[in-house]
Symmetry: C2
């Protein structure tokens, strides 16, 4: 017997206390200890919160505390059924953490009343597990990411055990279903362990759940198929469940220790069958069995607030009071409302408390990356626009050395595309993490690789979030179009960061860095399905405090931007860069100056000589920059009297007013660059309306004409792609001619020639299957600056 009677009694008391505090948060705004009979005015006017999952979470928390103490474990808990916010908060308060972080919520009657009142109350705390919740790295609103977050936390934390309660509801989601396969990516020697606890309480809002309604044999096969050894704990009689769960946890933790010992001491390299727990207990366990004649405990009716008429229906009020008193609060809290000593002694202390673990407030553990001097990777640019480099390949060399210098707190995630995205230099110093079978001929697979590749953008994102939130660094490289797969996860992470910034005890974490390559203008071969630059629009909807978008035009600017992003904190940085050979424009020093400003006039390409130009050609993104420069060279050749200014934008946020975004230009700065009255032809990487959205308040906006991707795509050639979207050099020249007044006959002639060039280029492409060589091989005509 794992538990003796006394231990069982104390564990059960702790569980009752957490359950009492959970119910109290949902219902009460006064009389927290029921020291007087419950009256309607003690109850909140709006009853919000989720009871159903709370007793199960409380059960897990209490039992995990037991094993933490018994084994001196370093453990955190990821709460998949995040709607059970009351449970997470209750345990933080019981453990004392809540009061340490929020001193006005004292661990006594007065604090308990505050704790209850603030829950799901205006000005209070959310009903879900959230950044405000001590001990959490996992937002409990949108479901499906708990297990990926748990693995992200465990990577490179060999001494950490991450307990992850997986809800049976969320286990129906795709991201969660894929996350089980993380077993093939965790290294028992170098990584920590994840202990999944699949909690089958059987119901979602209105329906049963799939895993609870398939035969147990089928469920166990599924979990074994995921690579686990499941241990089942089931019941609805507390003492029996306490004993079974305690035994199961001991079994699981013994095995985790044995697996790690085998790998670390004996050098075992086989993939272990990690233990996990299947916990089958009633939804809303210990809550009302029946309300108004309908069964509640153990059904979907227990999901949220099981008794709702409490302020108006005396029967409901009595039901609530009986329910609360069934936990015997007078045994649990002393006269001042302080948890009795036996309860206070049960949890571990200090940072061993899961609610106080620094791993769940990763900024506490964050070390600056050792970053090599990025200048060392610069490509030589003797003259702008004359030679080519593959920007991401150049970045790959920097990333290789970042990996080498930071062997245990930097990882690169990507869906099987790290080499395709030309970052393969990283494989000089590391491998791809892979703990399934290996065969001769495999390319850089190893149990502890720093590169994580899986054909699931959800897993890449979820792992990286977990890794960052526990105080490490990373980069997610992805085909631009398919990053939309994680739009929703990005949204939730951005919201997490924004909320965290306002919580004093949450320390800044490393930014989430996206490198989007294989982008819209170079997916001509893969076709329409691979062409979508719209992630930028999703990103720009989030708080300006949190999001940054960079469009470096060439290799050296990419180096400078990447260095900046890797040093930053608490942002989401999106970098869009090409992987194909592309012209280079700026020396490293010039690149640094340009990226520091984020936007600037390229004087070597302009001929306005610091005076008022006739037209401004602006560009953001590598291909728009190329086409703009090619257009400028045509204009300068054929209409030399036209004064052209070229403005390049690296930091998209610079376009916004400074009142809207911290990077925004003042109106005066904007006007100086773009003028207030000259036509601006803006060639943009993404959907053109994004530029309008950023600039509609600017003085020159009525002169602004934007070209970008307007959802015209197919399988064709690179130049045909820009032609399809009127972003090509010839069309940009036509745009200029159409918008600058008084250019006369030579311009009209040039315009016609440009239209002819477009037809010729298209005809050539259709005939030969490739772009005309003159377009393909174009370089900036004048050497030197």
């Amino acid at each position: 017997m794992t538990l003796n009677d006394d231990e069982l009694k104390r564990l059960d008391a702790y569980w009752r206390a957490a359950n009492y505090l959970s119910v109290g948060q949902i219902y009460l705004m006064a009389n927290p200890l029921l020291r007087e009979p419950l009256r309607p005015e003690h109850v909140k006017p709006r009853l919000l919160g989720h009871w159903g999952t709370s007793p199960g979470l409380n059960l897990c928390h209490a039992h995990l505390n037991r094993v933490i103490k018994a084994r001196d474990l370093n453990m955190i808990m990821v709460v998949g059924p995040g709607h059970g916010g009351p449970a997470a908060v209750a345990n933080a308060w019981l453990e004392g953490t809540y009061t340490e972080l929020y001193p006005h919520v004292t661990r006594d009657a007065r604090g308990m009343e505050r704790l209850f009142r603030q829950f799901s109350f205006p000005g209070g705390v959310p009903s879900h597990v959230a950044p405000e919740t001590p001990g959490s790295i996992h937002e409990g609103g949108e479901l499906g990411y708990s297990l990926a977050h748990a693995y992200g936390a465990a990577f490179d934390n060999p001494d950490l055990v991450v307990a992850c309660v997986v809800g049976d509801g969320e286990s129906e989601t795709g991201p969660l279903a894929a996350s089980w396969h993380s077993t093939k990516f965790v290294d028992p020697a170098g990584d920590g362990a994840v202990l999944p606890i699949l909690h089958l309480n059987g119901y979602k809002i209105a329906n049963p759940t799939i895993p609870a309604r398939i035969p147990e044999d089928e469920l166990l096969r599924l979990l074994e198929g995921y690579g686990h050894r499941p241990i089942v704990v089931a019941g609805d009689e507390p003492a029996a469940v306490h004993r079974a769960l305690a035994a199961a946890l001991d079994d699981a933790l013994d095995e985790i220790a044995a697996i790690q010992r085998r790998a670390r001491e004996d050098g075992a390299t086989d993939r272990p069958r990690w233990p996990m727990i299947v916990l089958r207990t009633p939804k809303g366990w210990t809550g009302p069995k029946e309300v108004d004649g309908l069964p509640v405990e153990g059904t979907w009716r227990a999901h949220q607030v099981p008794v709702t008429g409490v302020r108006t229906d005396p029967g409901h009020l009595a039901l609530l009071e009986d329910w609360l008193r069934s936990y015997l609060p007078d045994e649990l809290f002393d006269a001042d409302g302080v948890p009795v000593p036996e309860l206070r002694e049960l949890p571990p202390s200090g940072t061993r408390r899961m609610t106080a673990s620094p791993h769940a407030n990763g900024g506490l553990l964050l070390r600056d990356l050792e970053l090599p001097d990025f200048h060392a990777y610069a490509v030589e640019v003797a003259s702008p626009g004359r030679a080519t480099a593959e920007a991401t390949r150049v970045l790959g060399a920097l990333l290789r050395d970042v990996i080498a210098a930071n062997p245990d707190d930097f990882r690169i995630m990507g869906p099987d595309e790290t080499a395709s995205n030309r970052l393969q230099a990283v494989f000089d110093v590391t491998d791809r993490a892979w703990n399934a079978a290996r065969l001769p001929g495999d390319d850089h697979l190893a149990a502890h690789g720093r590169v994580m590749e899986v054909l699931s953008e959800h897993l890449c994102q979820g792992w990286l979030e977990g890794y960052l939130l526990t105080g490490r660094h990373g980069l997610f490289n992805c085909y631009e179009a398919f990053i939309h797969i994680v739009d929703a996860m990005f949204n939730q992470h951005a919201k997490w960061l924004e909320t965290s910034r306002a919580i004093p005890w949450r320390r800044p974490v490393a930014s989430l860095n996206y490198l989007l390559t294989s982008h819209v203008w170079r997916q001509d071969h893969n076709g329409f399905s691979h062409q979508d630059p719209g992630f930028l629009d999703v990103v720009m909807n989030k708080s300006p405090e949190v999001v940054r978008v960079y469009l470096p035009p060439d290799a050296n600017t990419l180096l400078s931007v990447a260095d900046h992003c890797l040093r930053s904190r608490d942002y989401v940085n999106v970098i869009v860069a090409g992987k194909q050979p592309a012209l280079t424009y700026l020396t490293m020093d010039e690149a640094v100056r340009h990226c520091t400003r984020g936007i600037g006039i390229w004087e070597w390409a302009s001929n306005d000589e610091g005076l008022d130009p006739d037209v401004v050609l602006a560009c953001a993104g590598d291909i728009p920059t190329l086409e703009t420069l090619a257009a400028v060279s045509l204009l300068r050749e054929h209409l030399p009297e036209l004064k052209v200014r070229v403005v390049n934008v690296v930091d998209l946020m610079r376009l916004q007013p400074d009142t809207e975004h911290p990077h925004g230009l003042s109106d005066r700065e904007f006007d100086t660059l773009f003028t207030t009255d000259r036509p601006i032809i803006f060639a943009f990487h993404g959907y053109p309306w994004l530029i309008h959205r950023l600039t509609y308040r600017r003085h020159g906006h009525h002169n602004l004409h934007v070209r970008g991707y307007k959802e015209r795509g197919t399988t064709t050639t690179p130049f045909d792609m820009v032609m399809l979207n009127d972003l090509d050099r010839f069309h940009l020249v036509m745009d200029v001619i159409d918008r600058v007044d008084g250019l006369g006959g030579r311009a009209a002639h040039l315009r016609q020639r440009m239209a002819d060039e477009r037809l010729r280029a298209r005809a050539h492409t259709r005939l030969h299957g490739e772009d005309p060589a003159a377009v393909r091989d174009w370089t900036w005509p004048e050497a030197g600056r």
Copy 2:
């Protein structure tokens, strides 16, 4: 032995022909039959395409043809590894379908040359399975949705068998992992069958795949855990694999027939263990074994183009020629390049050919929905803004009768929220589809329910896409914030529709209808994670030909919009509507007129009497409309001399110029509504910049001031949510006062009062946990129109 030697020989010949045609598409632009020695100029200048998966797909297609003929099956094939476009096209050409649909691509040497040349060639066809591909309902670009599409096709098609080749790469994705659980939602009596063929060729672009690298026992447990009986076929010796695959298919199809007979004739109600096939063959099977000393066949190097230097390296050219000739083309095609009679006779004929099935061109089978007259569900509106209704509950009654009238071609999908979204009237006539265990107390679960609830937005979307593309109708109801989970799937479906519209033989299908409710302004209780109206921004990036967004302000307008959307074709319709009790404004006749125009002046709320107003208050969305009207009533009470015009927008596309969207207003129409010189205060449901993006070219744009959700959210009350975002009535009044010149002292006084009201409302909320009653119970003050 399932196959006799002669059958095997013919099957193998067919397979060789399809493989030959696949390689030809990737490489050749001339000399398609190799009737002369291969020379560099016969080879395309840009080699694009994916060979690796093609031989496996060809193998499946050939074998499925055998069983279709042998059993007279009605079958389609979903090609999960959609990069294998060459295989899908090759089979369509071999079966004659390609020539029927594209008559210039004749089934002879000349047509073969065209077939080869057009593949991945400018002006040609994509390298992936796409709308252009006969027999496909599944875009092969973004991976992970094949199995969900297959189930969507099978629902309510009791005589259809959907073979679904699942790639081992895509099986790492979340959506695919969740899709296996579709076994719990398919009804063997009323639905067709899905036959998954998990094709383990072992590799992605650069890595092995998870399912190919776990022990077979573990894989089989996983598949059994998903509810299947897997049948393994493995090998790299063609004859043996032919025999094994033929036997496996016979086994599987015998069992499918037996399962269906048991359910349909014997009334069996247990959930069957559906058979499936695990096919383990080498990647790039029959291709080059080795190139430049590196192994290719059976490795990730076979993924795309295995031999690349063909135009410059004579050794590579010879390798390609040997490879092509290894299929013995002279045995397969006659002197004119026509497939020899034995090949032509092998496939089934007419619509039994998978490439010619009307199920894969669902518009051919589409019937108009039987729609009840939506007027019958109207709520009575004696006077605008005086009484309330729950808009989605009213819609639920209409949907109930749509379901009753269309028992076999209309389904509602949703992640466990149909009742939460107040559509529960549908359960008067149907149930939730559910074929796992049922228990007493379950709420409307049945094997053949018309409502499909699973906690996976991916599955809801994927099932619905498959259902619509095979010629049926449906609706996806979802919490607004979480629809972002399927952003990427929406993008791909919109692209599919846009491409399909330009393909003459693709017949229009029913629109994909989203009902987004539990929206940003009514997720005050669930908090920040549940607040995100940004799906509209994602939608608006897609082609204007395809997307429609509606924001009905009340119950009757929702009925009118829903009726319109259910009748429409080839669109994605997004309807945002509230589920909470909300004021009603328009009688049914007025609602129809308003929705038909999509935008209009609400004269009963305006006091400009058809003359030039001093200010225009515009609104889109139920809550913005409420706050606007409350602001207008304050203005009319306190500043009666101010001439106010109220414009309500239902159809967001009306705001765009008519040059940008078919629904767009002309400038003259826009100016008539909004004026060119009066301040416009626009209260919008979503992110405010979306309105600027739609209107930046309008004359009155410089006077336009938009309020909307600016990413300020938390757990609070409904009115506090609008206050946090400055969308509340008091702030709108302040906005008017700030922007209308010459209002004088009373206005300044009113402005101060409004600011005070805001403070009071916030204080009340923080104290009492609910909005002030005066705000909560506000109605339009004047009865009558």
